[in-house]
Symmetry: C2
Subunit: 919 residues, 2 copies
Amino acid sequence: MTTVVSAEPDVQPLVVPFGEGDRSMADLLGGKGANLAEMTRLGLPVPHGFVITTEACRDYLRLGHPPVRLEPQLVEQIAVLEHVAGRRLGDPTDPLLVSVRSGARSSMPGMMETVLNVGMTDAVVEALATRRGPRFAWDCYRRLVQMYGRTVLGVDEGRFEERLARARERSGVADDTGLDAHTLRGLTLDFRRILVEESGEDLPQDPQEQVRRAVVAVFDSWNGQRARRYRAHEGIPDDLGTAVSVVEMVYGNAGARSGSGVCFTRDPAGGAPGIYGDYLANAQGEDVVNGSRATLALSGLADLEPECYEGLLRHVHTLENHYGDMCDVEFTIEEGHLWILQTRVGKRSAAAAFRIACDLVDEGHIDMDEALRRVTGPQLQSLLHPRFRAATDDDVIATGLPASPGAAVGEAVFDSGTAEAWGAAGRAVVLVRPETSADDVGGMLASVAVVTARGGLTSHAAVVARGVGRTCVTGVEGLEVDVENGQARWPGGFVLVRGDIISVDGSSGQIHRGRLEVQPSQVAEAVGHAGDPGHVEHSADPLVRAVLRVLAHADLRRTLGVRANAETGPDAVSARGHGAAGIGLCRTEHMLLGARRVLVERLLTSHDRGPTLEAIQKITCDELTGVMEAMDGLPVVVRLLDPPLHEFLPDLVELSVRVAVDEVAGHVDPELVEQLAAVRRWHETNPMLGLRGVRLLSVLPEIIDAQVRGLCEAILALRARGLSPVAEVLVPLVADVAELEAARARIAAAVAFVAAAHEVDLDLPVGVMIELPRAALTAGALARAATFFSFGTNDLTQTTWGISRDDAEGSFLSEYRSCGLVRDDPFETLDQVGVGRLVQCAIAEGRAARPALGLGACGEHAGDPASVRYFADCGLDYVSCSPPRVPVARLEAGRAAVLPAGSAQSAGARSAPVGVPTQ
Amino acid sequence: MTTVVSAEPDVQPLVVPFGEGDRSMADLLGGKGANLAEMTRLGLPVPHGFVITTEACRDYLRLGHPPVRLEPQLVEQIAVLEHVAGRRLGDPTDPLLVSVRSGARSSMPGMMETVLNVGMTDAVVEALATRRGPRFAWDCYRRLVQMYGRTVLGVDEGRFEERLARARERSGVADDTGLDAHTLRGLTLDFRRILVEESGEDLPQDPQEQVRRAVVAVFDSWNGQRARRYRAHEGIPDDLGTAVSVVEMVYGNAGARSGSGVCFTRDPAGGAPGIYGDYLANAQGEDVVNGSRATLALSGLADLEPECYEGLLRHVHTLENHYGDMCDVEFTIEEGHLWILQTRVGKRSAAAAFRIACDLVDEGHIDMDEALRRVTGPQLQSLLHPRFRAATDDDVIATGLPASPGAAVGEAVFDSGTAEAWGAAGRAVVLVRPETSADDVGGMLASVAVVTARGGLTSHAAVVARGVGRTCVTGVEGLEVDVENGQARWPGGFVLVRGDIISVDGSSGQIHRGRLEVQPSQVAEAVGHAGDPGHVEHSADPLVRAVLRVLAHADLRRTLGVRANAETGPDAVSARGHGAAGIGLCRTEHMLLGARRVLVERLLTSHDRGPTLEAIQKITCDELTGVMEAMDGLPVVVRLLDPPLHEFLPDLVELSVRVAVDEVAGHVDPELVEQLAAVRRWHETNPMLGLRGVRLLSVLPEIIDAQVRGLCEAILALRARGLSPVAEVLVPLVADVAELEAARARIAAAVAFVAAAHEVDLDLPVGVMIELPRAALTAGALARAATFFSFGTNDLTQTTWGISRDDAEGSFLSEYRSCGLVRDDPFETLDQVGVGRLVQCAIAEGRAARPALGLGACGEHAGDPASVRYFADCGLDYVSCSPPRVPVARLEAGRAAVLPAGSAQSAGARSAPVGVPTQ
């Protein structure tokens, strides 16, 4: 083959024949082109062709016209192609036809244009009719005119479809394959008239001109609306451009000994070994995919075309060996001759990903590190949820946003009080609310699922539900909850009363009336107990074995610890079962929700606080005893009360209305009036920026005493039982080191109080939440006053961006996402550019001030795969997430260790080191 | 004199005789001790003595006992003192008595202890009685026992006072000077019994032991509660310690030819040249200060003791020449002999500071740079307010917090609507409200003063009032405003009805009933017009001349520009008069408050937005025409709408109650229901972190179009009149560069629209507010998309600290300040450690990305003296503050240029450079 000789020899050629490329050149040739080149080099039967590079596309997009050096290279490569194919474009005896296809670096299926049968002209159609029959020839011509019209000239596809429909009707056939040569000829002429009418241009009769125009049309399709939206969604940069492959046409529709098929080298659904695919005789690729005709399993091909089948087996074996991974292949048989048209590493289900990765290890293709790279946290996550065994759409009463996956069945209730009461009685309940607030956390914990009318994927309900592993559907538009009368009206008009059974699918967002059968996840079962002391898993299921094996390898590799967030004994047991190496965040406020809310309310309204504080101390002691018992020997980080106090009080608007209405009616409850005064007193315009966390020290330090004393009592009780509790105290919302020091002094006094009372030694390490920009910016000073940092990146994101999570959803942030102003929700995936910079600043300056400083992260981001990898790269000691997310975090932490450094960095991240202060 | 020989010669002596120190040694000798040493070196008649250094005190505080090497040095220096004084401690013929006084580096008046007449014993008192008479001797002894008891032994002062009172009663005299020798002797013995009763110790009869104990007591007083609180308030570090001076006693109360006085080298009130002070014959220093007897003007001394008077004149002249500044001097005449007991650079009023500084320049003592260093912004500020000519407490009906200084008289009104209506009719009104919100800004602008029942010094009312230069008193506890019935009940029970005249003193916080006469500030008058084009000031008042002269020098020196915040033509005229070099912040939302609020409300509720948007465009055009006309040729920065939209809507709670009550009553106004729905729709849990600023682009971009078009129309109208408007557009609340780019595109389109309609060229520079941490952290990217930054440090402080300014006052932040957890309110004085670091990061990375980037700061901090100096040190181009604060900002910007670098740095600031990103 001839190498392209460019006018400037140091310039990369813009057109590369298959024989001169390889799979490493996907940047230049696109994924499809690079793989075609690779197969050509491997000697596989690939049709002849060449690729116009992405560089040519980029030049075109920049210049507004094709670069001048493209034309001579294109002419030359067409000549080469004609030479090796032994046929020429426009040849009136044995004409060459080509396909012109897009092919970017990253697959963008269906987003860009393709033109087939390029090279067909009035002269060629006659030649082809002679060689392959008139119907075939005119069908090819009709298709070219139609595709060229739409793609190159921008003619509305509807105009062609309308003619086709009329022709089918007139011929009395159901699909286009029933149209005869005469009709197709008429349609072709008709279509060409449409071209001229709509665009003023006919199909050029010069085949080379057809190629040129088709190439430009494919370039243009890079910037089509569909393609741009897809890229925005997938995070593919806009400036890469697409390559264009020009390939000799082969025909699977050339008769009974022809056909097209798709072949996977392994089962892409379950991952089982052995090829897997479909074949359709006398058909082109589209026909296999679109399902208009029943396909044959691949084994059927062995009978039809044994030689081709053998060839196919041989070739896919070559490919799998060569790529070291499961591949998928598109092939065509033209009159008994096998052609491989495309290959790539095959897409697969989550289950298949785990199974195939382990099988490839066993077969010696890859090692366990590579297996770990080939599975993802979201894949593991998807294997952990139960599903409904059989669900039809008939019983769907509403569809909302899939806020927290899973499948759950229970009795509908409409207030958290009922949820807690029924839940405590052992009933499975689904909490259905207009929306949820901190008040509802107790009710949510008591429920198997949560459904809300308002709120999006990052609403309170969604966040809490994901955090505690409850199935959740939010944003059910039109759902009206009538709490007082105990009923809910669903969007379609269906009314549910309290106690009616519903089934909630958190993966699809569908709500079903009645009870669907739930199929638990065997994987969840296995990974949920793998961390139990003494537990040994003997599963016969190859998927379960594969998941556990990969997870074990992740544990071996990772340097990032994984802890869980938990506030109760059972949650801590679950956390340990999931493999958590401690509790990274125990939110003491969760112990004071629900029925216990009244305790805090009493603190805020009553003068005699003694008994209430004692009750809080007792509750804290009891709950923490359970948590630390489950985590025996492992660290438990207990965070002091964090939320604003008025979260424990009734809603200001509701209470104001109630009191005002009572006043009008002349029967005022003085207790309510007093309560309203308290609510007003504690009301804040911006509670997120208000009296919370360590700031409570200034108004209600006794609550901190009660919490710390409760913790100390729990430690001593467990020690007395021979256990080894390991507790640390975490101070939230610190902005200045003076606050931390004041809190430390108060904590130390409370510890000393209990130690003295029991005549024992007791010392609790104190850490600080880094959840305000100022904390990160003064990390050096904080590190000198704390033994560890815990990054609260939820709050840190709120203040760094100035976005309230309570309000963001359904507001500008979703608008931003839909118009591409932000790619990732910063509350879901850590914003590395802004928030990440503060995190790195705090790490650098904290460790500089105290080399042994402990570093952890808790909250939503700690369970997000990309963020976990980022935290690992940052050098944190541990992340802490909800128990069900622990396996995912373990997996991603392992992947961070085996993936190339910096791979966790987000596309837009331009994070910079922050200078170390000269303190 | 002998030099102390220490055991270790390289160690600094702990005791320094006056003759061996000088004024540069204030760190070691304290301010008082260093000045006594200096005067000794100058040959002034200072009593003999020595100083125990601050190092000795620090050693004592660290060790818990005096350092061992102190005792021999003390003994030696006492011997030296006895030698030079010619008298010995405890000598039964001619005894030496000494005073033992505290004296820290920074003056802490009255915060630490003093013991006088040390050396008095049973033997000495007899000797002294013989030499000076028994009454004098026993009075000295009585004083020593009392002071020693209180200071050294910690006896309650009340026990002595009670005996003294009884003795006065028994003797039938009004004050202690009436007590005779016999009575004083009895009291002395009595007091000694009290010492033994209370502490188990009597007064030691060894004079050296008295000295030792007194020194330790003074050391201890460094850590007394009063002293600690004072230091926390003044920002004096706790680890400096105090020096102790031991000085030979001299007696102004030794008869008719004795006396004590205070002398200032110039008038400390008005600054006029010539000595100024008081003298009291036969009296000690305390008697002059406490005002129990009528003093003589200093000129009277010329007649009484002409020789001493001449000496005094000579000595203070020496001191002023030597110190190059006005000094104050305490002196005593003992039997015709003049002693100088103390001197320091004298405290002075704001007026005197300016006048003295300029006079010293004219007299050749200092240059103008030094004069500029010697005055402060707060001093200038205090000269700008009008005062009430004569105010008594009789007519005071309430006292609140002095939130914005000034003196104003007007008719009381209780709602902003009335304030606006009456104000528009030319009536002077005082707006009295429970508290204010954004709704009240129109009313506040129409008023001469604002009074609120709730809120502190950084409440909405206080901040806005200071911003627009209105007198304001907040936090009037017990004030009840009954808006509906048009009356207010004041704390004392006094009821005011609408239209009643009140006088508000914003400097004292007092509210007077009726009309007080207001004395305008001549300085304000002068500096408020100095910037008017063509204005030349010819004032006969030396103060006015001095202020203008110093300000002119500040303008000459400063590199930091000063602009003003203004939204109306008159405000812009005032800004220019005050010397503003442009408008740095024009808040367009201020144009849409008051009666115009309904426009925004209509936008949020109605479907046909066209006419409303046109009205907004028209208003914007009209107001900006006025502003730009006043600022002709100078830049005007117009900020797009910033606040959350619901600020333009009624209050949710109030409206909910109203609708609910109406519902109960059965007459529901459908319009109100609709309004409530709109309020609910726009309601946010944390509005400060919500849908504001650039984010409005995602829901209501048309409002930005209307504002920009209005601005463009104004520019074109002014150009048509031959003027030169210079406008820039400022985009608020940007967190990500994508938002800025979207806003820029929208602004450019609106500009292009108007330009096309008028067929002219028009181009507006676009800048970005840096008011979120993320903006500062991504400043490089923002700088590439904006031509200037404007730091909104109010908002930046809110998010960096996570403190809502709406809620902070009266909550934990005031609690923090009162217990010393924070020293400066970060909303008043820029927090250099945290917020300042973000500012510096943004400056460094912004200028790296765009060297010509403009840099300004607007908001509260831009008018705070320390913050202005900090901004100047950071290298900003300009600050922008309210018009009345412009002169203060000019002065402080000038001071920043002549003060040593880094002097603006706050005590706690450990700001570090932030790495430049590798973008």
